[in-house]
């Protein structure tokens, strides 16, 4: 299946749900999808294109919005579903009903960026400690940590 | 004089001191053989050839902090290691190494001592279970449950296997059994099957791979010993070392013809034969991987127990033929 074929197939399957398709390098596709269509688009691609393997979900803080990328792979290509959600109303649909393996990545992104994944089966924190203060979202760009001055044990400074 | 002699017998030879030294030597031998089988060095630097390493480990443990968990049954928890040591050391006294007279049974060598020694060797298992139970740690509890489950597997084959030579010799006294086989050494060959079964059962009794299930460290941390530390752990380790010596001594007496030849030569016999049994145990440890507790029980009843019964039948038939 050539790259052009894949683009054609994606457009046929998704029918207008995909805002744009970019193909910057061979085998790499970036699909832009609006948040409400995400679950449906994922389900369609899974059923018709065999897109079952979710590698990870990455988030980028773009100032006003969060860009969320779902990195899928099929034997012929890498599909990256991109969606953007506003920072003041950060709600993201959960795709765990379609891809059960997405749960860990959704939990991770939820605590790191402070967005809310709707209908997530397991809301607990994944990586941050239990006593991590509420409202601290480390991967947001405005979250800065001040490195403490180095104190060398047992000696002069 | 008799009192002094008894004291010497209890404390020095073949009592506590000798058992302590010899069991540390056996542990060294076991560790060295195990290491060499794995192309490693084993203990090397403490004392000549690392001979003092087990003693150093023992002393180190004695010096460590001794922690008793709050939730534990403290009295039981504290007293069990001592009882365990006492039990196996008592069993050690019954070995017909040197201090016995065939004609005149004494309190260390009497008719039925084979039963007593087997019984005394079963006790550490129960003590271990109680220790695990008293610790109240979930890992210990699982370990304790596994100890008992395993006990049902290996105890019967061991008893059946040791029974064979006793029936052949027509005696319940270790010294007499040994003397019988010393006169007819060829008959020892008929017991090979029983010896094999007994070695495997002893391996299980000592909880060494493939039967180190009650304290399988990758599964349940320290298992039965999880909460034990310091002096009590040192005592438990010593208990197991002495149990190894005593049970290999028992196997040597019953299956390898005992220790004839008086004090010096008999002692040499004792050293060579117990080390041979320990070598077999080390080999078994090196060659297998740990199995699951359900597999132990099914292995014991599917293979070990029938083999022991066959051995018993062979022995009885042979006895019938010979007489």
């Amino acid at each position: 299946m050539s790259d052009a074929n894949i683009i054609e197939q994606i457009q046929r399957e998704l029918r207008g749900k995909v805002a744009e398709i970019a193909n910057p390098a061979p085998r790499r596709f970036y699909l832009k999808i609006l948040p409400p269509d995400l679950v449906q688009a994922t389900a369609l691609l899974r059923d018709n294109l065999g897109m079952t393997h979710l590698s990870t979900i990455s988030g980028v803080d773009k100032g006003e919005t969060f860009e969320i990328l779902y990195h899928f792979s099929i034997p012929e290509a890498d599909l990256n579903l991109r969606t953007e959600i506003p920072k003041d109303k950060p709600h993201l649909p959960s795709i765990t009903s379609v891809i059960p393996g997405a749960i860990l990545y959704e939990r991770e992104i939820q605590e790191m960026f402070g967005l809310i994944v709707d209908d997530i089966p397991d809301k607990r924190r994944l990586l941050l400690s239990d006593d991590w203060p509420e409202g601290q979202y480390p991967l947001r760009k405005d979250w800065k940590h001040v490195r403490p001055t180095e104190v060398i044990p047992g000696g002069q400074s | 004089m008799a009192v002094l002699r008894t004291l010497l017998y209890l404390v020095v030879y073949p009592g506590l001191l000798f058992l302590f030294l010899y069991s540390t030597f056996c542990e060294w031998f076991d560790r060295k053989v195990y290491a060499r089988l794995q192309n490693r060095m084993g203990p090397t630097h403490t004392g000549r050839f690392g001979l003092l390493q087990p003693i150093a480990d023992f002393v180190k443990l004695l010096a460590k902090e001794d922690i008793v968990p709050d939730a534990a049954d403290k009295r039981l928890f504290n007293v069990l290691p001592g009882i365990g040591l006492a039990v196996v050391a008592t069993a050690g006294l019954l070995l017909p190494v040197w201090n016995f007279d065939l004609a005149a049974p004494s309190f260390t060598s009497f008719s039925g001592d084979i039963i007593v020694i087997l019984y005394l060797l079963s006790l550490p298992t129960l003590i271990l279970f109680l220790a695990a139970w008293a610790s109240t740690n979930p890992f210990s509890t699982i370990g304790g449950a596994r100890v008992l489950t395993m006990l049902f597997g290996y105890e019967v084959p061991l008893f059946l296997a040791v029974l064979g030579p006793a029936i052949m010799a027509g005696s319940w006294r270790l010294a007499e059994i040994a003397a019988f086989y010393q006169q007819k050494p060829l008959l020892l060959l008929t017991n090979l099957l029983g010896f094999l079964v007994a070695v495997i059962a002893v391996q299980a009794k000592l909880e060494r791979t493939p039967f180190d299930i009650p304290h399988a460290e990758t599964e349940i941390v320290g298992g039965t010993f999880t909460e034990y530390s310091g002096k009590k752990l040192a005592l438990f380790r010593l208990t197991f070392d002495i149990e190894m010596v005593v049970s290999s001594g028992l196997l040597a007496t019953v299956f390898l013809g005992g220790f004839p030849g008086g004090a010096v030569i008999g002692f040499l016999h004792f050293v060579v034969k117990t080390l041979f049994v320990i070598f077999l145990l080390s080999l078994l440890r090196a060659v297998t991987s740990r199995i699951r507790v359900d597999q132990v029980v099914s292995f014991a009843w599917k293979y070990l127990a029938p083999l022991a019964v066959i051995q018993l039948l062979v022995t009885i038939l042979l006895k019938g033929l010979l007489s």
């Binding site: 390098a25 997405a102 924190r125 | 794995q38 699951r292």
Partner: protein, 400 residues
């Protein structure tokens, strides 16, 4: 009668901190839960504050065992962002090291599997032979764990004829030994009794839960980034994707040993056709704005790095996904209905690398962040005080 037993964060079977909470009924596991975050270092946040060169070494330190795979994944992504074409010889050496690292990682795993099953002799022998490949890696790169052989635009150390001969010689021994271990691993009765049929993961579940690497391949799913998305030198090499269809720990052992044999084949091919020329080209300090998804088949499965640049010498975002994280949902599935005795084996069978899987946020103690020296007696006093003040809390329910 359900008991909850904690496996980890400190446990002899786990060499790295992770917490598995097992609900058991007797010896049978009824439920499993995984808690992460004990080894969280904030690599992704730190990466945004460091330049591309510094990040090379940062990504290398994501993991100790597959250090080369993360740094290679990162380097090949940055090379794409900077539009560099590294020279052939450099690429051959880079992926030679990558395959040798796979060999060392799989041998390590094989030994650990033996150890988890209580088969210590196997463990000792496998690790003894692993020293051969460790020595080769040390000879090539200078160091044993963090090879630091990658640089953006190539590699940092060249191979000479003597080294090539030594590697080929080492590979012959390794192949002989690996075939022997395949025989032992698949025939020693007590070992097979422990691993056959344990940790069942059906193909459907493996796909649904996004398992990757040898875990997925042992369930019969022939996925390998080297084959389906060949990067750098892999499209010129002849190798097979090893799979097994037993879906259990035995299958994972077999897959890994077969992969070892494939890796020897790849190494020999690379060494026989080692092109002449430079080993690296100069790289610019800055990358144009852009984004790239870099995939790499690490020993444990698929590594994926998402790198976004913004025109400066520091990345805008570096997202790292290590294969272990992808295998956790599958692990929980495998653990259910297993025995307690199988926990270490099942968990070890995904070849977990916890430091890979957890990386994102800088964890400095929220209160002070200070390092300080406390005397043992102080520590003890504090512990006792804390113990006395703490409300009585029983995590473990007394089972009987």
């Amino acid at each position: 009668m359900n008991v909850q037993i904690p496996i980890g964060p400190q446990h002899p079977a786990l060499k790295e901190p992770i917490s598995l909470r097992m609900t058991v009924d007797g010896e049978v596991i009824t439920d499993a839960d995984i808690r992460l975050g004990y080894n969280h270092r904030g690599v992704e946040k730190v990466a945004e504050e460091k330049n591309y060169i510094q990040n090379l070494y940062l990504t290398e330190r994501i993991c100790g065992i597959c250090s080369h795979s993360h740094s290679t994944c990162y380097a090949q992504g940055v090379e794409k962002l900077m539009e560099l074409t590294p020279p052939k010889r450099g690429m051959s050496i880079r992926y030679l090291v990558a395959e040798l690292e796979r060999v060392h990682s799989h041998l390590l795993w094989l030994g650990v599997a033996g150890h988890e099953a209580g088969f210590d002799s196997f463990f000792m022998y496998v690790w003894r032979d692993r020293e051969i490949v460790m020595d080769l890696l040390e000879m090539i790169s200078g160091n044993r764990v963090h090879y630091a052989i990658n640089t953006i635009g190539g590699v940092r150390r060249d191979l000479d004829a003597g080294q090539v001969a030594k590697i080929l010689e080492g590979l012959v021994t390794l192949r002989k030994r690996s075939e022997y271990y395949l025989r032992i691993g698949a025939t020693e009765p007590s070992f097979v009794a422990r691993i056959a049929g344990v940790g069942f993961l059906s193909l459907e579940k493996a796909i649904a839960l996004c398992a990757c690497g040898p875990t997925a391949r042992a369930s019969g799913w022939a996925r390998d980034v080297r084959k389906e998305d060949p990067y750098a030198v892999y499209d010129e090499l002849d190798f097979e994707v090893a799979t097994a269809d037993t879906c259990d720990v035995l299958g994972r052992v077999v897959v890994r040993i077969k992969e070892l044999l494939e890796s020897y084949k790849i190494c020999e091919q690379i060494l026989k056709n080692l092109p002449a020329g430079d080993i690296a080209i100069k790289a610019p300090r800055k990358a144009k704005p852009g984004e790239v998804v870099s995939r790499y088949e690490a020993p444990r499965g698929e590594n994926i790095h998402y790198i976004k640049s913004n025109g400066t010498d520091k990345p805008e975002r570096l997202k790292v996904r290590a294969p272990t994280l992808g295998n956790y949902p599958a692990t929980v599935e495998m653990l259910r209905k297993g025995f307690i005795a199988d926990i270490p084996l099942i968990f070890a069978a995904i070849d977990p690398c916890i430091c890979c899987a957890e990386r994102t946020v800088t964890l400095i103690s929220a209160a002070s962040g200070e390092e300080s020296v406390v005397r043992m007696s102080d520590l003890r006093r504090r512990a006792i005080a804390r113990h006395q003040n703490a409300p009585v809390k029983r995590n473990a329910v007394w089972p009987f």
